[in-house]
């Protein structure tokens, strides 16, 4: 139970306030001088008094000693419900989840088990802080803009007194300058004035002459598709084989120049890649890789330049990023695939539309890759609104959320040339758009045939053609289809005219035949002209009793008369 402090004691402390003439001495400095100090060595304490520790758990900022039995009741403890917890700072507490133990504290444990002695303490720590030798602090130029830790306004240094500075604040008028310890003053670049260790931040600046003389050739690893050194983004709508194509890309680079990506793009040199895959699972990923390796004529186990990790690192987790960087360094990876981007955002996923928040997160990834010497390739989804419309050419603006389109130095975007047909699940007609900040840019019609498990098994067969050629071929086919359709219609119309003409062996005027055929005025002339050109209809002179002059009529030629 905590004792209530009477008002007089509070006032007694308040009497030490400088305004009240307090002497600044510490009346209680000698209190409890015989108390053992330092961090309690819990295992030593327990061992001496026969309290058995079943298990020791170490968490982020505390250590938990789970006891075999509760010190207050030997029947408790079999389920690990009794423990002594020691925070990293040294504070020690007792916990037991049984109702009868409610209210028992570490103080009670000590009263019951045994007195805490000096020998139970770990490293003895001084009661008061040892005297410190002031470091020689760096001088501060007069006029430097500084800000104290507890204020938001900036002032200029007017004098450097060694360990402190006098500061004149803007707008303080005729008020005297205030003196602050250097430990409480920050410069505009965020450096504390007493900070002698931190190196000032360095940026690289190049003159135009230096820049012009530098050896900065484009290191193209897959010809006109992927170069080393520029962040890449692979995007696409739903189920357009983003992962499969990226896997084949990494696999191709892992094999080297003996193969081509999509059987078309030359692999200039071998490059090691690590693929962080957060979607799909190992089973389909291995299946895809096996089919691709078999298509390339190599055994998957012999590919030594491609590595797969079945998780993606979280960009907001330092531990994840350090682990990912370590993997990239260990494997000497030149490319790091992150599939998909959205699983890496962690707690920042709620800010996915905020380009500043995403910029910070993606910036962490770029830094990690730069430190590991790898080029990141991010796989990302398109906006839902993009849909899967036919021949809807993909664009960087289709990438969902913020940040990815902005950081892309090179990209490969996938759309559908034809909607996905569930009756032909192994056939994909896609549009592949490739581009980069270095100027290369191309658009391709990509057909991937994968087969189905029920119909001869699955395989991998990409076929790629320039989009313009595919479009021409497509247009030519459509033209032929249209012509065939027109010809069929013409034949039908000719047949109808012939049927009518056959009913009048002696011949009838064109107006009569047209009326009887029922053909519209836009369909009749072409069919009529073609029949005349072919000589199937021949003109005849018709005479009727009430006509003085003969008039023109038509009939089928003799051989065509049914």
């Amino acid at each position: 139970m905590i004792e209530t402090i009477p008002q007089e004691r509070i006032e007694a402390v308040g009497a030490n306030a400088p305004a009240s003439g307090g002497n600044g001495k510490a009346p209680g400095a000698a209190a409890h001088s015989d108390r053992p100090t330092g961090r309690i060595d819990v295992p030593a304490y327990c061992a001496e008094y026969g309290v058995k520790i079943r298990e020791v758990k170490t968490e982020a900022n505390r250590t938990i000693y789970i006891l075999e039995t509760c010190p207050f009741d030997e029947n408790y403890g079999s389920k690990g419900e009794t423990s002594i917890v020691q925070a990293d700072g040294g504070l020690t507490t007792f916990h037991c989840k049984h109702t009868s133990c409610a209210g028992h504290t570490w103080q009670d444990v000590k009263n019951r088990v045994g007195k805490l002695e000096a020998r139970h303490m770990g490293k003895p720590e001084p009661q008061t802080r040892p005297p410190t030798i002031p470091k020689a602090l760096p001088p501060v130029a007069v006029g430097t803009w500084v800000r104290p830790t507890d204020r938001n306004n900036w002032g200029q240094v007017t004098a450097d007194n060694g360990n402190s500075c006098e500061v004149h604040f803007v707008g303080s008028g005729g008020q005297a300058d205030k003196e602050f310890p250097k430990s409480q003053l920050f410069t505009q670049d965020g450096r504390r004035l007493d900070d002698t260790d931190s190196e000032p931040r360095q940026f690289n600046v190049y003159s135009m002459a230096d820049l012009d003389a530098m050896d900065l050739t484009v290191d193209m690893v897959i010809d006109r598709v992927l170069m080393f050194g520029a962040p890449a983004v692979d995007g696409g709508t739903f189920k357009v084989l983003k992962t499969s194509l990226a896997l084949e890309q990494g696999l191709s680079m892992g094999i080297g120049p003996s193969t081509k990506w999509l059987d078309h793009f030359a692999v200039v040199r071998k490059a090691v890649s690590v693929y962080f895959a957060g979607e799909g699972g190992l089973v389909p990923l291995r299946d895809t890789l096996r089919r691709q390796a078999e298509h390339k004529g190599v055994a998957l186990r012999e590919v030594d330049g491609f590595f797969l990790c079945d998780e993606v690192p979280r960009l907001d987790s330092d531990a994840d990023m350090q682990a990912a960087t370590a993997i990239l360094r260990e494997r000497k990876a030149e490319f790091a695939y992150f599939d998909p981007c959205y699983l890496m955002m962690g707690a920042q996923a709620a800010n996915a539309s905020n380009v500043y928040a995403m910029g910070t997160m993606l910036g962490r990834m770029l830094r990690a890759c730069r430190e590991a010497g790898a080029t990141p390739v991010i796989l990302h989804h398109f906006n839902r609104a993009k849909g899967t419309a036919q021949n809807d050419a993909p664009d960087l603006a289709d990438l969902s959320q913020a940040g990815c389109a902005e950081i892309a130095g090179q990209w490969g975007l996938l759309g559908r040339a034809k909607p996905f047909d569930p009756e032909r699940p192994g056939e994909h007609d896609l549009i592949l758009s490739i581009g980069s900040r270095m100027g290369y840019c191309s658009k391709w019609a990509l057909h991937v045939s994968e087969g189905t498990p029920d119909d001869g098994g699955r395989y991998w067969q990409p076929t790629i053609t320039p989009f313009s050629e595919a479009r021409k071929e497509q247009q030519g086919q459509r033209e032929q289809e249209r012509e065939a359709k027109q010809q069929a219609k013409l034949n039908t119309n000719r047949q109808r005219i012939c049927n009518v003409a056959a009913k009048f062996p002696a011949g009838e005027p064109m107006s009569i035949i047209r009326g009887r055929s029922g053909l519209r005025s836009d369909a009749f002339p072409a069919a009529w002209a073609s029949l005349l050109d072919d000589g199937i209809l021949v003109p005849v002179e018709l005479r009727k009793s009430n006509h003085k002059k003969p008039y023109e009529g038509y009939r089928l030629r003799d051989s065509d008369t049914p």
Binding site: I5, N61, T93, D318
Partner: protein, 270 residues
């Protein structure tokens, strides 16, 4: 021409996978139960009277919009479970930067502002004038560091050291051992008091903090050091809730986010 690929799939042991998943879920549920118990215990420590009405407040709760929000709710001692669930939601799920509770007794009518529930962007939170009595003397020890970031281990150690000094010095004034808390970056020492909330009490506490600072050693300018906050004399002062996260700035390896912890009276320094 292609040939069909034959693949053999090594199926993982389904029983082992299920058992591992089950253990993971059980561990998560147990951890959640432990946290709820810790919140409840903290609230009960600070407000042992079930008739007490207190406010829980959540600062800098991330929001889909551009600016983090604030959330607040009022609870009485009969609804500690509801308060604990709300705290769990805001601390663990909504990643609030700080979860706080008021320390002093307030007008019970305030419960009608948000009756045993939490609302986002509340129209009003507790003001000094709404406090009836002062129940806690709050000593807040913070490491000296730039604002908006978590403390490093050395700075936390400096706060820990200063806490010991504070307790020892106040023992010299016949103060009992306080309720101790680790606020994540610094330390709290909470002494039980019972004062009316008026100008005299406020002035007395201002003098107390000034006097306390005068009897403490001067912060060391050459290394990590800590100091007491002398501006915590206002009646509507809030303190962090035990078991919740203190998320100041970004969590980095040397300046990680830490949980707040309260220690039972008697568990304290010795």
């Amino acid at each position: 021409m292609t040939t069909p690929a034959t693949t053999t799939t090594a199926r993982p042991d389904a029983q082992a996978v299920k058992a591992a998943a089950g253990k993971r879920v059980a561990d998560q549920l147990q951890a959640r139960q432990d946290r709820l118990a810790e919140y409840t215990q903290c609230l009960r420590l600070l407000h042992p009277d079930p008739a007490d009405v207190f406010e829980v407040r959540f600062l800098n709760v991330p929001n889909n919009r551009w600016k983090p929000i604030q959330a607040s709710g009022y609870f009485d001692g009969h609804h500690l479970d509801a308060a604990a669930i709300a705290i769990e939601t805001y601390s663990e799920d909504r990643k609030a930067a700080g979860c706080y509770v008021t320390l002093n007794a307030r007008n019970p009518a305030l419960l009608a502002r948000a009756h045993n529930r939490v609302v986002d962007n509340p129209a009003a939170t507790t003001t000094d004038a709404e406090i009836i009595r002062r129940q806690w003397l709050f000593v807040d020890i913070d490491p000296i560091r730039p604002s908006g970031i978590a403390a490093n281990d050395a700075e936390v150690k400096a706060a820990e050291d200063l806490l010991e000094v504070v307790v020892e010095r106040l023992r010299g004034f016949s103060f009992s051992y306080p309720l101790i808390a680790n606020s994540g970056n610094g330390r709290y020492a909470l002494y039980k008091i019972d004062l009316k909330n008026n100008d005299e009490s406020t002035a007395m506490l201002r003098r107390f903090y000034a006097g306390l600072r005068a009897i403490l050693p001067t912060p060391d300018p050459g290394g990590p050091s800590a100091d007491i906050d002398t501006g915590v004399y206002n009646a509507a002062r809030i303190a962090r809730i035990g078991g919740t996260w203190n998320r100041k700035g970004d969590s980095t390896p040397d300046r990680p986010h830490r949980r707040c912890q309260y220690f039972d009276p008697g568990d304290s320094l010795d």
